[in-house]
């Protein structure tokens, strides 16, 4: 953990964006998967997903713009401002088109740059799907919803939805902030949370057009996704290593760990165990719990990181030394996590077997996943530097900045370079005192 960074002051707007963007993405890819592989009787579920996704994406765009210190420059995320300025000087739109064609701004190694584009593209896809869901027999449905064009749009839309669901986590990992940067599992965790909160939002807004069978299938999907999220969450906690005990010294850390675990995962899982028995209140309660837990997760992850800076500072002032990077298993928090993992790795397959009588193959799969998670949590807990183990692509270099040599050219700053840097300077006008 690096405690010497500044707090970027990512607050409520970003927490809300991560949360609502997750719900939108989850509801959307649920819809596309149902349209691609589901039955026709499940279409109403997909339509609810589409009707949730687009309005939320619009809200997300507003949240992101409001969060900027210079909101009027939001378009700089998508277009190179220096190139646009040049095109305008050339008389665009009457001229300067050749310059303007080079204006798009895209850094594929920067999660925020890719994220801005993916949100833009996701907005287009979700808009088309929204129109289709509102007018199921309309022209948009006839032109873009059926045949090969419809399938291609659904496949692409699904991929973009999954991307939007997870990139926010990778964005946090690709920093040097405490908590955010120590684990590779925030992206997968946000993805599963997007799925569970997306399904929960669809369950909450289900209408009479959704059949009881569709609702049951939706609950089963939610159950699978919640189980997966629980396991990813346990691995995420273990991968925090020595940061986990520090996080538990902050109330934001408690919201992250127990808000997510108890309200967002265990409670809805328990309520869903009785899937197949139609009970409106039970399903609604499970959906509400998953939504509250999903918010606790986003809030906890975003706000625990700056809180850790204060914890570290207090520790330093009292002891004159950094907190020792103790392997997790030597702390009571680590032992608690190992015990919780062991119990859940046994309990969940057992509960599934007891309540649903899964087939032998399904039980084997559930058991295998449980075993893998137990092994992963144990490996992380016993490693002195857990953030960087289980790293399958450690040798891959991702950006032109990494490995750049001294004097090695512009590196990752190839785009949006002005023809000349104009620095406000005392050399212009009054001569400085040196001369």
């Amino acid at each position: 953990m690096n405690p010497f960074v500044s707090d970027p002051e990512w607050g409520w707007w970003i927490v809300l964006y991560f949360y609502l963007g997750g719900i939108a993405a989850g509801a959307y890819f649920l819809g596309t998967l149902i349209e691609l592989f589901g039955r026709s009787e499940d279409r109403p579920v997909a339509r609810i997903g589409y009707r949730i996704a687009f309005p939320l994406v619009c809200v997300c765009g507003i949240l992101l713009i409001v969060d900027l210190e210079r909101p009027e420059r939001f378009w700089h995320m998508l277009l190179q401002s220096e190139v646009v300025d040049r095109a305008l000087r050339e008389g665009w739109p009457l001229g300067g088109w050749a310059t303007m064609l080079h204006a798009p701004m895209f850094k594929w190694w920067s999660p925020m740059s890719i994220g801005a584009w993916s949100l833009f593209v996701f907005g287009l896809f979700s808009f088309i799907s929204f129109l289709r869901s509102v007018w199921p027999e309309g022209r948009i449905e006839r032109w873009l919803g059926r045949g090969a064009v419809g399938r291609v749009l659904e496949v692409l839309g699904s991929a973009v939805g999954f991307f939007v669901a997870s990139y926010t986590g990778v964005l946090l990992t690709a920093t040097n902030q405490p908590l955010w940067s120590v684990t590779d599992w925030t992206g997968p965790l946000f993805l599963t949370s997007a799925a569970s909160t997306g399904i929960a939002a669809v369950l909450l807004l289900r209408t009479a057009s959704v059949s009881a069978e569709s609702e049951e299938r939706l609950e089963r999907a939610d159950l699978w996704v919640l189980g997966l999220e629980l396991f990813v969450f346990l691995v995420f906690l273990a991968s925090l290593g020595a940061v986990l005990p520090l996080a538990m010294q902050t109330w934001q850390g408690w919201v992250l760990i127990f808000g997510t675990l108890i309200v967002g995962l265990l409670l809805p899982l328990w309520l869903h165990l009785r899937v197949g028995t139609p009970d409106h209140r039970r399903v609604t309660a499970a959906a509400l719990a998953a939504l509250v837990g999903g918010f606790a997760l986003r809030f906890g992850v975003v706000r625990t990181s700056p809180a850790l800076l204060a914890v570290w500072q207090r520790h330093w002032e009292h002891t004159g030394a950094a907190p020792a990077p103790t392997p997790l298993w030597q702390t009571w928090q680590g032992l608690g996590l190992l015990a919780t993992t062991a119990v859940l790795a046994v309990l969940i397959p057992w509960a599934l077997r007891r309540h649903w009588r899964l087939s032998g193959a399904q039980m084997s799969l559930a058991g295998l996943v449980s075993l893998l998670v137990a092994v992963g949590v144990t490996a992380y807990s016993f490693s002195p530097d857990p953030g960087r183990i289980l790293n399958p692509l450690s040798a891959v270099r991702f950006s032109p900045e990494e490995g750049r040599l001294r004097g090695g050219g512009p590196g990752a700053s190839q785009q949006n370079r002005p023809s000349e840097i104009h620095l406000r300077s005392k050399l212009v006008g009054n001569l400085p005192h040196e001369r």
């Binding site: 420059r73 699904s158 790293n391 001294r406 700053s413 300077s425």
Partner: protein, 291 residues
């Protein structure tokens, strides 16, 4: 293209006079105080350090690190002083993540924020491992040392290095600076076989070689652990984690999609609402999940 230039800061000769801070403020027309909310200089009251840290209006900051022995009389005392600044990393995290392309590598190999392009997203703040970049309260734009780009263009020494009375901050070509720094490290360690720093720590260079972010164009001679000076031992380029994070995200996406597919391809059979059967499920539940 000119040779890469940088700062070599020898912390052992820093006397904490803050001439560098004053010169930086004066040359760059930076306001006094800590910003809009506290426009006047404020004394911290617990140190000779009255600006506290780097900020949007303090692009240089002299750290006063006051080390006392743990005994009740604090019999051993040492002050370490270090003029902190943007490190102008060779592999710059802020420049790498900046989504608007506002952070540029100049022809001098320094890192520069192009003010008209920045939209205040603060991604650079999350990425900088040294806590250098801060947002201007007045303009909402990321602020940090420009390495006196205007002065470099006119063959002038940056204001801070020009003002430093003890030559703690030295400006020059990186190759020359490294040579000078290594000579000084050897001298200090030869003259002080029991260690040049408090607690017997030997002198060493921080950021001169490629180990830290490919090298720091503002590198330091230190006589204690980096953390004592508020410097991280092993900062990383943010994109380093993206392959692994993306791999696990794609893996999880496939698992999620498979689960949803299984759920929606399976046959379901509704049963009426009834209390759960003690000791196990109803027999019809056996048929419920069949992918």
């Amino acid at each position: 293209m000119p040779d890469p230039v940088g700062f070599y800061t020898d912390t052992t000769v820093c006397i904490g006079c803050k001439a560098c801070q004053v010169a930086c403020h004066q040359w760059n027309d930076l306001p006094a105080g800590k910003g809009q909310r506290t426009p006047l200089p404020v004394l911290s009251g617990d140190s000779y350090d009255n600006t506290g840290s780097l900020s949007d209006v303090n692009w240089r900051h002299v750290k006063f690190i006051e080390k006392f022995s743990p005994d009740p009389n604090r019999s051993q005392a040492a002050w370490l002083m270090m003029s902190d600044v943007c490190k102008h990393c060779v592999n710059a995290p802020c420049l790498e993540v900046c989504p608007t392309g506002a952070i540029l590598r100049t022809e001098f190999d320094t890192v520069y924020i192009n003010q008209p392009a920045c939209n205040g997203c603060r991604d650079c703040v999350t990425a900088c491992p040294f806590g250098v970049i801060h947002m201007s309260e007045q303009t909402g734009i990321a602020q940090k040392c420009t390495f006196c780009y205007d002065r470099l263009k006119d063959n002038l020494v940056p204001a801070c290095a020009q003002a430093c009375p003890t030559n703690s901050i030295q400006f020059g070509k990186i190759s020359d600076l490294k040579q000078r720094a290594r000579t000084r490290v050897a001298q200090l360690n030869n003259e002080n076989p029991n260690g040049a720093g408090p607690g017997g720590h030997r002198a060493y260079l921080y950021g001169a070689d490629e180990k830290i972010l490919g090298g720091l164009n503002a590198f330091y001679l230190l006589v204690d652990e980096p953390e004592v000076y508020g410097l991280p031992s092993n900062p990383k380029v943010p994109s380093r984690v993206m392959p692994a994070s993306s791999f696990w995200s794609i893996f999880t996406a496939l698992m999620t999609a498979l689960g949803v597919l299984f759920a929606f391809r399976s046959r379901t059979k509704q049963k009426p609402a009834a209390p759960p059967t003690p000791g196990g499920p109803a027999p019809e539940a056996i048929k419920e999940v069949r992918p």
